[in-house]
């Protein structure tokens, strides 16, 4: 599929490439998502929906950089918290009130992207565990800044402008904004996965030095993906801030944020488009339920245990493992029908290749 863009096929023909069944499934899923607040109008249900969609968006954003490139970032909360704080500071200092605050959302994306540039220029010079350590270090620098600078409100953080909406339907606009962010992040991830840019990211994941030797501008490609992930995560951080109505250093720059996002992607399927979506839809409502119905720490213990189980039982994630299982079943079904003629006739000069196979 990655060759589609190289061959210059239209967006419509690429959509057709999804396959009729897949396309129908995506449309049905989208229809259910749009109808969710109508089908389940209770604020408790829509609250679950808003948080699930927020994490679908941030997990997809994390995956489009870390999942595709293999650079596991544990610092995306930097973009999330910065997006939230940027809105809080802008609304406070520019005296923006009421629904006008939503016009500031692009600022969150811009701040996320801007921070990703120097962050990436430093962190992306190193690889693997060193990269992970640097992202953690940058994360703590930002958390400490939020705690200690006066313009961030210190330990008390910032409050969002009051929104004069009825309590019963208060969540609904946020639900649709979060749905827009989630659909946008998934679409972006899907497009990147199938583009030459995505192919270069995946080549970097397999062997960065080799990719460079084949003309891939590795730094430029990695940084671009990091900036895109930063922009999406920053934007969603802004939405989250308006929804909660406040941000504190411990919630805006929460180490559990990155652990959750990583687990969502690992559980669903690292480097796939649908994996982080599935992971977020499983983990975030589960976490919310456990937090609300048990002592808070139980959900964290279960989150850690789930991570261990996922790594041990489905190391490739649910989507790749499930897909492989279905393919195996399909192949077994086909094998029952004997093939009359080989599909690819062997040219005489391919004989050495056959020998090489042995």
């Amino acid at each position: 599929m990655s060759e589609d863009l190289i061959e210059g096929r239209s967006g419509l023909s690429r959509l057709r490439g999804l396959g009729g069944l897949q396309l129908a499934f995506v449309v049905a899923l989208l229809a259910v998502a749009v109808a969710f607040p109508v089908l389940f109008p209770s604020p408790v249900a829509t609250n679950y929906g808003v948080f699930a969609l927020i994490f679908v968006a941030v997990a997809s954003a994390w995956n489009l950089f870390s999942g595709f490139s293999g650079y596991i970032s544990l610092g995306n909360a930097v973009f999330f918290g910065s997006g939230a704080y940027a809105l809080g500071i802008a609304a406070r200092d520019w005296h923006v009130t009421g629904t006008a605050v939503f016009a500031l959302l692009p600022l969150s994306a811009a701040v996320g992207a801007l921070i990703a540039v120097p962050f990436g220029l430093i962190a992306l010079r190193v690889r693997r565990h060193t990269f992970i350590v640097i992202t953690i270090a940058v994360f703590f620098i930002f958390q400490l800044m939020a705690y200690n600078f006066s313009f961030t409100g210190g330990t008390t953080g910032l409050d969002a402008p009051f929104l004069p909406w009825a309590p019963q339907t208060y969540n609904n606009p946020f639900y649709y904004i979060a749905l827009g962010c989630a659909v946008g992040a998934i679409a972006l991830s899907w497009l990147i996965r199938r583009s030459r840019f995505g192919l270069q990211l995946r080549a970097i994941r397999d062997d960065e030095d080799r990719a460079r030797g084949l003309g891939v501008h590795a730094m430029r490609v990695k940084l671009s993906a990091f900036v895109v992930a930063g922009a999406v995560t920053g934007l969603v951080g802004g939405v989250w801030f308006f929804y909660l109505g406040q941000v504190e250093p411990s919630s805006g720059f929460d180490p559990l944020f990155d652990l959750s996002v990583v687990l969502m992607s690992f559980l669903g399927g690292l480097g796939t488009v649908s994996g982080p979506v599935l992971g977020a839809l499983i983990i975030e409502p589960g976490q919310l339920y456990l937090t609300a119905n048990t002592n808070g720490y139980i959900s964290e213990i279960l989150l850690g245990s789930l991570f261990l189980v996922a790594v041990l039982l489905v190391p490739r994630g649910i989507i790749p493992t499930g897909g492989e299982y279905i393919r195996r079943l399909t192949r077994r079904g086909r094998a029952a029908i004997p093939a009359a003629v080989p599909s690819v006739p062997q040219a005489p000069d391919t004989a050495p290749v056959q020998e090489a196979q042995r």
Partner: protein, 252 residues
């Protein structure tokens, strides 16, 4: 003939070990040049310096008359130097076709068609939809050759193309190199298989301890006293005999 690729007095040290010592070589345009020498003589280091994977401490590298010393591998590739590695380096989680498309980024129009042509040329077009990680060692060698060729490089550096593969595949690779050379592609080949080198190359450069000890046509080089000394005094015919059987551990 004019030199398409040349190095002048290249020095490269790793700690206290001098891997290349004022190494000067020339590869004429349109030729197949062999680069031979005992293990540790600096052949792969020279490849790394030429292709930007290692920085020269001193000396210069030129492609035609353009100085390309110490420029990044992506730029070296864009200028027309493709290379393969001693241990094949493909992208295992990508399909064979996707591997080809990573390399063919500079030829966007008809990239897929060109990729299929190259895969067909090396004889693995039937595997274009397979994951590259599922290919055998020999097929990986062919894939690596194919995706280097897809970008139409002016010169191809092959690091032990016959290493670890069986005799029929060695012949298959040799035939493909000859065909490409006949259409104008220049090759610089590092290889321990003396029969392969002597039968294929127009010119041979011999390295020992990071320096060139001999250079010339195969018939001259094989009788050169310094070359025989470099190979620990072994007769070159003995080396041919021992190199015919690849290490079974690295087999297909």
């Amino acid at each position: 003939m004019t030199a398409l690729l040349r190095t002048e007095g290249v020095l490269k040290s790793y700690g206290g070990v001098r891997a290349l010592d004022t190494c000067t070589i020339e590869v004429d345009e349109g030729t197949v040049t062999g680069l031979i020498g005992p293990n540790g003589s600096g052949k792969t280091t020279l490849f790394n310096v030429i292709t930007g994977y290692a920085k020269a401490d001193a000396g210069e590298v030129y492609l035609a008359d353009r100085r390309i010393t110490n420029i990044a591998p992506d730029k070296v590739f864009a200028l027309g130097i493709g290379r393969t590695f001693q241990l094949t380096r493909i992208f295992p989680s990508l399909t064979v076709m996707e591997n080809m498309l990573v390399a063919s980024q500079h030829h966007r129009a008809g990239a897929r068609k060109r990729a299929i042509e190259q895969l067909d040329f090396v004889g693995i077009a039937g595997y274009h939809a397979s994951l590259a990680g599922t290919l055998s060692y020999g097929q990986r060698k062919l894939l690596e050759l194919a995706y280097v060729l897809v970008a139409d490089p002016a010169i191809v550096l092959l690091d032990e193309p016959a290493g670890g593969v069986n005799l029929s595949l060695v012949n298959h690779i040799a035939v493909r190199i000859r065909e490409l050379n006949a259409t104008g592609t220049t090759f610089l080949i590092v290889e321990h298989n003396m029969e392969f080198v002597m039968g294929l190359c127009h010119q041979i450069t011999v390295l020992d301890s990071g320096s060139v000890v001999a250079a010339g046509p195969p018939d001259i080089v094989r009788t050169d006293r310094r070359v025989l000394d470099a190979y620990l005094g072994e007769d070159i015919e003995d080396i041919e005999d021992t190199d015919e059987d690849p290490d079974p551990a690295e087999g297909t």
